[in-house]
C-alpha cells in the first residue's frame, strides 16, 4: 500500500509538472503579444509603414532590410533608434511564433476566420471534357444535375445509366471511339479523382502566395477540399482566389462579317418561330422606357418585352428564369423585323454590345438548339468579363471566337502585377498583369501573332473575355499583358492565380462558415467568463456542502481542468466555442465522480465504520459506478467525434479528454491525499 502510494504520488506530481510546462506557452504568449503591440506602434509611427506591411516583412524575415530602405534618407541616429526597436520586435516576434506553435490552438470560431468546403463540380467537369456537345447532351446533363445535388449519390453510375437508357453510347461525347461505356466511366472517374489531388496542390500554392498565416487545406473524401483560413479579414477576396478556375486561353476572334451573318440567320430563325406563334409577342407589353442608344446611331423608342413569352416555344426545357429579369429592352423599330438584332447594340467600334438587362435573353437565344445549329462548328460565343458603362447604361460585349484556343495559361512561366507607365493603351497608374510564356508558348505566340496581323486575339479567363486587342505586329518575345480596369488587389490576385495555374477541375463552395474577429473575441470572453463563474460556484458549493472533503474535491477539479488543457496543448487539439462548453460540462460532470465517492463514504460512516475503512469502502464501491457511467458517456462522445464537423469535433474532444482526466483526478488524486492525511493524522472523524 505504501509503496503503491509513493508511485501514485510520483505520477501525480509528474502529471502536474508536465501540465504546467505544457500550458506555459499559452500563458506567456498573450503577454508577449501585448508587449509586441507597443513595439509595433513605435515602428509603425517611425517608419510610416502599414501594420500589414510590417507583418509581411516580419514573416519573410526582411523587416530590417525593408526599414533600412525606407529610412535611407534619415539621419543615422534616428535610424539606429528605429533599428533598436526593430530588433526587439523581431526577437519578440520569434518568441511569439515559437510559443504560438506550442500554445493551445484556438478554433476559427474563437479567433475569427473562415471555413470553406469546396466540391469538384462534376456536372461542370463533364461539360468541360465532353466533345461534340449537342442539345440531347445538354438535356441529359440537365437531368443529371439533380443527381449531383442529392447527397450520397453516385453521379457516374447515374450518368452511365442515363445515357444507356437514352440509347446513346458514351463514346459519342467522351473518350475515344473504341472505348466501351465502362472504360469511359472509369476514365472519367479517374480524371475527377486525380484532379482533386492536383487542385489541392494548386490551392496550396495560391493561398501561400496570398499570404495567410497557417492555412489548413485538406482533402475530405474523394471530391472535396476543406480550406480553413484563420484571422482573415477579406473573405470574398480569399474566395475569389481559391474558387477561380483561372483557365487562361488565347482565342482568335472571328471576322465581323461572320458574326453579322450569324445574327441575320438567327433573326430569320426566330422570325419563323414567332410567325408560327401568331404574333402574340408583339402585343406583349407596351410599357416603354426611354433609351437613347439606338442601333446604327438612330434614336428610337425601346419597349419592355417579356422574353419568356417571346421565346417560350423555343427556349430550353426546364429553364426557369426569374421573371423580373426577363423584362428586356429592345429597339422598337427593328424588333419585329430582327428580334435578335434588336437586343444588341452597335457601339461604333465594330464590337457588339449587349445592355446588361438583355444578357439573359441573349444567352437563352444562343442556347436554343435551333440557333446552335446556325453557329459554325469551329466558333463559339463568349461574353466580356466586366460590364462597361456607356451613358447611363451598362453593357457587356459579345464576341464570336474560334472554339480552339491558340494557346493556354499552362504555357506561362510567370505573371506579375504592374503599374502601367502610361505607354501603350493603358493609362498611367492603371494596374496590369504582365505574363511571360515558356519557350513553347513563345514559339506558338510568335507564329499566331505573325499569321494574324490586324485580326483580334481574345484573352479569355474562365470562359469570359478579359480583352480582345487588335494584333498590330508579330510578337516574338512571348510576353503579353492583361489590362482593363483593375485595382491593385485585383491585379495581385489575378497574377497569383495565373502563376499557380488553372484548377484541373472546376470547384464550387458547398459550405461556408465565417466568424468575424470581433465575434470571436466576444465568444472567448463570454466562454471564459462562463467557465470561471461555473468553476467558482461549483467549488464554493462543494466546500460548503462537504467541508474539507469538498475542498479536496475542488483540488481534484482544478487539477482536472489544468491537465485537460495541457492534454489539448500537447495533442495540438483545437479549442472551439463548443469546446469551451465541453470544458464547462466537464466541470459539472467531474463533480459527479467526487459526489458519488463522498456520498458513499458518508453512507459507510453512518453504518458506524471507522474513517479509514469508510473511505476505502467508499472508493471501492463507487469505482464501478463511475467507470460504467464514464464509459457510456465516452461512447456518445466518440460517436459525436466521428460524425461532427469542426466545432462539434472540438466539443467531443474536450468531453473525451475531460472524462478520462476526471477519472484520474477523482479516483487517484483524491485517494492518495486521503490516504496520506488519514495515516499521518490518524483521523477519528472526517470533515465531510
Amino acid at each position: 500500500m505504501r509503496r503503491n502510494n509513493l508511485v501514485r504520488t510520483v505520477i501525480i506530481v509528474l502529471a502536474v509538472i508536465w501540465s504546467l510546462w505544457q500550458l506555459y506557452p499559452t500563458f506567456i504568449v498573450g503577454r508577449q503579444k501585448n508587449e509586441a503591440e507597443s513595439y509595433f506602434a513605435k515602428v509603425e509611427q517611425q517608419t510610416a509603414l502599414q501594420r500589414d506591411e510590417i507583418n509581411e516583412a516580419l514573416n519573410s524575415g526582411q523587416l530590417e532590410q525593408r526599414i533600412r530602405e525606407r529610412l535611407r534618407h534619415k539621419s543615422s541616429d534616428s535610424l539606429q533608434q528605429v533599428m533598436k526597436e526593430t530588433s526587439s520586435l523581431i526577437a519578440l516576434h520569434d518568441k511569439i511564433s515559437k510559443n504560438d506553435a506550442k500554445a493551445i490552438k484556438r478554433g476559427l470560431d474563437l479567433q475569427g476566420g473562415t471555413y470553406l468546403v469546396y466540391e469538384v463540380n462534376l456536372p461542370k467537369l463533364m461539360r468541360d471534357v465532353a466533345k461534340n456537345k449537342d442539345a440531347r447532351f445538354e438535356e441529359i446533363l440537365k437531368e443529371l444535375d439533380q443527381v449531383a445535388a442529392a447527397p450520397n449519390t453516385d453521379y457516374f453510375a447515374a450518368l452511365q445509366k442515363r445515357f444507356a437508357d437514352a440509347g446513346i453510347r458514351l463514346n459519342r461525347y467522351f473518350g475515344s471511339r473504341a472505348q466501351t461505356d465502362a472504360q469511359i466511366i472509369d476514365e472519367l472517374k479517374k480524371e475527377a479523382d486525380d484532379s482533386i489531388a492536383r487542385n489541392l496542390e494548386i490551392l496550396r500554392n495560391r493561398i501561400d502566395q496570398f499570404g495567410v498565416s497557417e492555412p489548413s487545406i485538406t482533402q475530405q473524401g474523394n471530391r472535396r477540399v476543406v480550406v480553413e483560413l484563420a484571422g482573415i479579414t477579406d473573405v470574398n477576396r480569399a474566395k475569389n482566389i481559391i474558387g477561380k478556375t483561372a483557365l487562361l486561353e488565347f482565342n482568335l476572334v472571328k471576322e465581323p462579317q461572320i458574326f453579322q451573318d450569324i445574327i441575320t440567320k438567327i433573326d430569320n430563325l426566330l422570325k419563323r418561330d414567332l410567325a408560327a406563334k401568331s404574333g402574340a409577342a408583339t402585343a406583349a407589353a407596351d410599357t416603354s422606357t426611354a433609351d437613347t442608344t439606338g442601333a446604327g446611331g438612330k434614336v428610337s423608342q425601346d419597349k419592355a418585352v417579356n422574353v419568356s413569352e417571346l421565346f417560350a416555344g423555343s427556349s430550353i426545357a426546364g429553364d426557369s428564369a426569374n421573371a423580373s429579369q426577363d423584362s428586356v429592352q429592345v429597339d422598337k423599330e427593328i424588333f419585329s423585323g430582327n428580334p435578335f438584332l434588336s437586343l444588341l447594340r452597335d457601339v461604333g467600334s465594330g464590337e457588339v454590345a449587349v445592355p446588361a438587362k438583355n444578357v439573359r435573353a441573349v444567352e437563352r437565344i444562343l442556347n436554343n438548339p435551333g440557333v446552335q445549329k446556325v453557329i459554325p462548328p469551329d466558333a463559339e460565343f463568349a461574353w466580356s468579363n466586366k460590364p462597361e458603362q456607356v451613358a447611363d447604361e451598362q453593357y457587356y460585349y459579345l464576341y464570336l471566337v474560334k472554339k480552339e484556343p491558340e494557346l493556354s495559361g499552362a504555357l506561362l512561366t510567370n505573371a506579375q502585377q504592374q503599374i502601367a507607365s502610361g505607354a501603350g493603351m493603358t493609362r498611367q497608374g492603371e494596374w496590369t498583369v504582365s505574363m511571360q510564356m515558356n519557350d513553347e508558348g513563345t514559339k506558338i505566340f510568335s507564329r499566331v501573332t505573325g499569321a494574324n496581323v490586324n485580326k483580334r486575339l481574345a484573352i479569355i479567363l474562365d470562359n469570359k473575355v478579359v480583352m480582345a486587342p487588335n494584333i498590330k505586329e508579330k510578337i516574338p518575345s512571348g510576353s503579353a499583358s492583361i489590362e482593363g480596369s483593375m485595382d491593385a488587389d485585383e491585379a495581385k490576385d489575378l497574377a497569383i492565380v495565373l502563376r499557380a495555374g488553372a484548377l484541373q477541375a472546376p470547384m464550387q463552395v458547398i459550405e461556408e462558415r465565417t466568424v468575424g474577429p470581433s465575434l470571436g473575441q466576444d465568444s472567448i470572453s463570454k466562454g471564459t467568463w462562463s467557465a470561471l463563474i461555473s468553476l467558482l460556484l461549483v467549488m464554493v458549493f462543494m466546500a460548503i456542502y462537504y467541508k474539507l472533503s469538498g475542498v479536496l474535491a475542488d483540488v481534484a477539479l482544478v487539477l482536472n481542468i489544468v491537465i485537460l488543457l495541457a492534454c489539448m496543448a500537447f495533442l495540438k487539439a483545437t479549442l472551439t466555442l463548443p469546446g469551451i462548453a465541453g470544458i464547462i460540462l466537464t466541470i459539472g460532470m467531474a463533480v459527479d465522480a467526487n459526489v458519488l465517492i463522498l456520498e458513499r463514504i458518508r453512507e459507510e460512516l453512518r453504518t458506524g465504520k471507522t474513517v479509514r475503512t469508510s473511505i476505502e469502502a467508499g472508493y471501492d464501491r463507487a469505482f464501478w459506478t463511475i467507470f460504467d457511467s464514464n464509459i457510456t458517456t465516452l461512447l456518445t462522445a466518440l460517436v459525436l467525434y466521428q460524425f461532427g464537423t469542426g466545432p462539434i469535433k472540438g466539443f467531443a474532444v474536450t468531453l473525451m479528454f475531460g472524462l478520462a482526466v476526471s477519472m484520474f483526478t477523482a479516483i487517484v488524486v483524491t485517494r492518495v491525499i486521503y490516504d496520506y492525511v488519514t495515516r499521518r493524522y490518524n483521523l477519528k472523524t472526517l470533515s465531510i
Binding site: 468546403v117 463540380n121 445535388a149 442529392a150 447527397p151 450520397n152 473573405v235 470574398n236 474566395k239 463552395v509 458547398i510 459550405e511 461556408e512 465565417t514 466568424v515 468575424g516 470581433s518 465575434l519 465568444s523 463570454k526 466562454g527 462562463s530 463563474i533 461555473s534 461549483v538 458549493f541 456542502y545 462537504y546 466555442l577 463548443p578 462548453a581 460540462l585 466541470i587 459539472g588 460532470m589 463533480v591 459527479d592 459526489v595 456520498e599 458518508r602 453512507e603 459506478t625 460504467d628 457511467s629 464509459i631 457510456t632 458517456t633 461512447l635 456518445t636 462522445a637 460517436v639 459525436l640 460524425f643 461532427g644 464537423t645 466545432p647 462539434i648 466539443f651 467531443a652 468531453l655
Partner: protein
C-alpha cells in the same frame, strides 16, 4: 455533516403512472407543436441556406434593410435583431449550390448603408446537399449512440435495464425537442451535440441508480423489484440532487452568460438535464418494474401448473 435530505423513504414507484402521464402529455404536445410548425425548426445546417449576422454602427431601420435586400432581389429574407438593436440576423433559404449569397447581400447592404458600416460578424452558408448530409449524419449519430449504449448496458447489467435506459434516453431527447419547439428555437448542429450530451448525462444518472439496484439485489435477495428500486433511488437521492444541481448550475450559467452563439445549446442542455434526472426514476425504473412483475407472474403461473 450538511445534508439536504436525511434518509428518505419516498415511494417513487407508486407515482409512476402519474409521472408517465405527465411525460406523455409533454411529448404529445411537443409532437403536435412540431406538426403545426412543420417539423422541428431546422437551422441552415440541416436545411441549407445562409445566415448572416450583420453588425451596424448604429441600429438601422429594419424596413430599410428589407427594402435594400429586396432591391438586390432577395425578397424572401428573414430579418430580425439579435441581442442588440444594431445586430441584425439575416436568414436566406436559397437552395442553390455554389452561390455567393453572403457576398451579394453584404454588397447590397454596404451600398444601402454607406455611413453605417455594416460588417458581417458571422456567416454560415450551407448548400442543400451538405444540409441533407448533415441531417442524415445527425440521425445516424443519435441512433448509433443509442445502440452502442444498449449493447454496453446489456453487457454490464441485464437486457431489460438496457431497454429501460434507452427508452429513458429517447424520452429525454423527445422532451428536449418538444421544448425547443414550444419556444420556437432552432435545431442546429450544436443542438444535436447537446442532445447527444444529454444522452450521455442522462445515462450516467440511470447507471448510478441501476448500479445500486444491482448491488441491493445481492444484499436483499428476497425483496420485490418495486422495493429494491425504491430503496436504490432513495439511497442515491443525495448524490442525484447534488450532481443535478451542480450540472444545472453550470448549464444555467452557460444559458445566461454564454452568449448568443451557444444559447440554443445551453437551452437544450438545461431541459435535458432536468429531464434526464426525472426519466431515470420515472421512465427507466417503471419499465424494469413492469417487466419483472410480468416475469414473476409468469413464474407463478408456471409454478401453479406444475403443482
Amino acid at each position: 455533516m450538511m445534508q439536504f435530505l436525511g434518509e428518505t423513504h419516498i415511494d417513487f414507484i407508486k407515482l409512476r403512472w402519474k409521472a408517465i402521464a405527465v411525460s406523455a402529455v409533454i411529448i404529445l404536445a411537443g409532437i403536435v407543436s412540431m406538426i403545426i410548425k412543420g417539423g422541428p425548426k431546422y437551422g441552415v445546417d440541416f436545411l441549407g441556406g445562409t445566415v448572416i449576422q450583420v453588425h451596424f454602427a448604429q441600429a438601422p431601420d429594419i424596413g430599410d434593410v428589407r427594402s435594400a435586400l429586396a432591391n438586390a432581389s432577395y425578397g424572401d429574407v428573414e430579418i430580425k435583431t439579435f441581442g442588440a438593436p444594431n445586430e441584425i440576423l439575416l436568414r436566406v433559404h436559397e437552395q442553390r449550390e455554389g452561390l455567393a449569397v453572403s457576398e451579394s447581400i453584404m454588397k447590397a447592404l454596404r451600398e444601402a448603408f454607406p455611413q453605417n458600416q455594416p460588417e458581417a460578424r458571422l456567416v454560415e452558408s450551407v448548400g442543400p446537399k451538405v444540409g441533407r448530409e448533415l441531417r442524415t449524419a445527425a440521425i445516424w449519430a443519435t441512433l448509433i449512440s443509442l445502440v452502442l449504449i444498449l449493447i454496453y448496458v446489456s453487457f454490464r447489467f441485464e437486457f431489460i435495464f438496457a431497454v429501460g435506459a434507452v427508452v429513458a434516453l429517447f424520452h429525454d431527447v423527445m422532451v428536449t425537442l418538444s421544448f425547443l419547439s414550444f419556444f420556437d428555437l432552432e435545431v442546429n448542429l450544436t443542438v444535436v451535440a447537446a442532445l447527444l450530451t444529454i444522452v450521455g448525462y442522462s445515462l450516467n444518472d440511470t447507471i448510478v441508480v441501476m448500479d445500486r439496484i444491482r448491488e441491493n439485489r445481492r444484499i436483499h435477495r428476497d425483496a420485490g423489484i418495486e422495493k429494491l428500486i425504491n430503496l436504490s433511488v432513495n439511497q442515491t437521492l443525495g448524490r442525484t440532487i447534488i450532481t443535478s444541481l451542480t450540472v444545472l448550475m453550470v448549464v444555467l450559467i452557460l444559458l445566461f452568460f454564454g452568449g448568443d452563439v451557444i444559447y440554443n445549446f445551453a437551452f437544450a442542455m438545461t431541459v435535458g438535464v432536468i429531464s434526464g434526472v426525472y426519466s431515470t426514476v420515472y421512465i427507466a425504473a417503471p419499465i424494469v418494474v413492469e417487466w419483472h412483475k410480468k416475469a414473476e407472474m409468469q413464474k407463478i403461473r408456471r409454478g401453479v401448473k406444475v403443482a
